[in-house]
Amino acid sequence: MTSASVEIRPSNRPKNVLQKVSIPWIVVFTHMFVILLLPLAALLLRAIVLNPAQFWALATTPIALSTYNITFGTAIVAAIVNMLMGTLTAWVLVRYEFPGKRFLDGIVDLPFALPTAVAGVTLATVYNQSGWLGQFFAPFGIQIAFSRVGVAIAMVFVSLPFVVRTVQPVLQEIEPTIEEAAWSLGASRFATFWKVILPPIIPAILTGTAQAFARAVGEFGSVVLVAANIPFQDLIAPVLVFQRLEGADIPGATVIGLVLLLISLILLLIINLLQAWGRRYDA
């Protein structure tokens, strides 16, 4: 630990080095190690018992491939819906005054607090063919619960707060005077939005969307209840992991878990790069 901390700042000012080995640093490092890195290492170790050919075979069974497709496809849709609706929600919460605003502001966080299994059962009940909302779609042959649409709705639900909560503080910091200045200089409403308001909130939108996406990819509890869980139809990868665990197939489950982790890491990296690009004009 000490050597690592020395590496961080090979400075000729010893006072600085001492600051880096401060107690908060040690506590944080230990905490992250125990909570995050150790379990990840255990996951990797479990997969290492397989040789690459076995790994590849388990990672690319037809059912596994279809679950990646469904998981990431649906999670992207859910993230985009949250990106648009979350930004709009944040906008309304910041710029509008209306009765019940505080209440609305409060319940945005509800999906974090609600056990996801409860969310899953509730969504299935509301969206099945005879449910409150599902019944209006059933006559057109549209099935929501127990289909991929239901999976997407569950994902939108559980990742709802991310975009709202990242965009909201940024919007709040934008002074209305900046818009007024833009108008007074002759910019149209559209141009004002596009060139004045949007650029500073883009990094926040992307951050929130990335978080929503990552959350949606990992979601299990609500999806397993609202989906039919039939392979090639709406079986998602986390549920496949669960199925393999239930079948005492630990290596098979680990492989899918690792594939999910890798794809998510790559996608998050891309989004981080996009964010950096979005901030390129920042001081």
Binding site: I63, T207, A228, I230
Partner: protein, 385 residues
């Protein structure tokens, strides 16, 4: 996760946007810090207590290690781990056993009981839930614990019948009120106009019985393996939802209104009837002998010094008193005396086949439910249609 957050935004700024919970917490704290925080602290304690209590679905508080069994201590703690629907039976049997054991030995037995899905219970025991006795829904689960090295091979022979089976049941088809689709047998589940719900045999040990019942309807009546596979494929093509366990399958059928039929177990249907939910159901003539195994977990009982009482409890479960309690909640008893008493409740099934007819659980798991096994092939085939 990805955002380099501005640390200032984490501080609660007056008038700034905060999360609902932070807002609530701040609001409470701002008033009178000392008293309020004491209340909050107490509330937090209560909450964590409640959370711990909720966790009781699959795990129980571990009993203190009984390392002091030199004489016979006055009280002894035993942990029973079983699958969900046995709770009603065990809650009646345990007091009988406690009484019996006190008369025999003067010792008081206290039971820690844990009920949950058979598969998750199995994993919990393997991962360290110190169960003295495991009563699971399917021998494959007990075999898993054996393979993990916790139960010595040969546990089957330690029960009076010599097969390790404490209760049994058969598969039934539950239909909608009045059976509008006229479903009478497994073969009706392959009809194009019928849909039915079953839990996924990959995740639900219990659903493997359902799968075997369908398979055996062909293979145990003279059909070939190909014919059996085609039959099961036709049937599973009619499954609109594959819930992860039996409880959820029941919910999907009744509450979410999916499917014309539900494959269930006779004991669940009989228990539901006792609780006032009479369900229309049929018992197909070609049926699977559903066997619920019981075993003492050797390494835990030796560690905890509970072997004597755990083995006595298992033996007690095969007495007429205990078997009657199982029968009352819908399980088929395994001793002739009680079988005769309940003959009118449990109609005889003409052609009953067992897991051994399919080569035993080891072979069934490899052949049907492994990755790329027959069940995976069936699902791939269905998707291709």
């Amino acid at each position: 996760m990805t955002s380099p957050r501005n640390p200032k935004s984490l501080e609660a700024q007056p008038g700034g946007q905060r999360s609902f919970l932070a807002y609530l917490g701040q609001g409470l704290l701002e008033r009178s810090v000392s008293r309020r925080s004491a209340i909050l602290f107490a509330a937090g304690l209560g909450l964590s207590g409640a959370i711990a209590a909720c966790g009781g679905g699959t795990t129980t508080g571990t009993a203190p290690d009984g390392g002091d069994q030199a004489a016979r201590p006055d009280t002894i703690d035993v942990t029973l781990v079983s699958f969900a629907v046995t709770e009603a039976a065990y809650s009646n049997i345990i007091p009988l056993f406690v009484e019996y054991w006190r008369e025999e030995t003067g010792q008081t037995v206290r039971f820690d009981q844990s009920y949950g899905g058979s598969g998750s219970q199995t994993r919990a025991v393997i991962d360290g839930l110190e169960a003295d006795i495991v009563a699971l829904a399917i021998p494959a689960d007990t075999i898993q614990i054996q393979e993990a090295g916790l139960i010595e091979p040969g546990w089957e022979a330690e029960t009076p019948n010599g097969d390790g089976i404490v209760t049994s049941s058969v598969g039934v088809i539950v239909t909608r009120e009045g059976n509008p689709k006229n479903i009478q047998d497994w073969s009706d589940l392959t009809r194009d106009d019928v849909t039915f719900v079953t839990a996924n045999p990959k995740t639900s040990g219990g659903a493997r019985w359902n799968y075997l019942a369908l398979w055996g309807d062909v293979s145990e009546t003279g059909g070939t393996e190909e014919q059996a596979k085609a039959f099961v494929t036709d049937a599973f093509a009619n499954v609109p939802v594959l819930p992860k366990d039996a409880r959820e399958a029941t919910d999907v059928f009744f509450t979410q209104n999916q499917g014309d039929a539900l494959i269930n177990y006779e004991n669940e249907v009989l228990l539901a009837a006792q609780q006032g939910n009479e369900l229309p159901y049929v018992i197909p003539d070609n049926n699977i002998f559903i066997a619920n195994p019981i075993a003492v977990v050797d390494s835990y009982v030796d560690q905890r010094g509970t072997r004597e009482v755990a083995e006595a409890f298992v033996a007690f479960l095969f007495t007429p008193e205990a078997q009657r309690e199982f029968a009352k909640v819908g399980f088929r008893p395994v001793i002739p005396e009680v079988q005769q008493e309940f003959a009118d409740v449990f109609p005889e099934v003409p052609n009953l086949f067992t897991a051994e007819d399919f080569g035993g659980w080891g072979a069934i798991r490899e052949e049907h439910f492994a990755d790329g096994g027959i069940f995976d092939q069936i699902q791939t085939e269905i998707a291709r249609r």
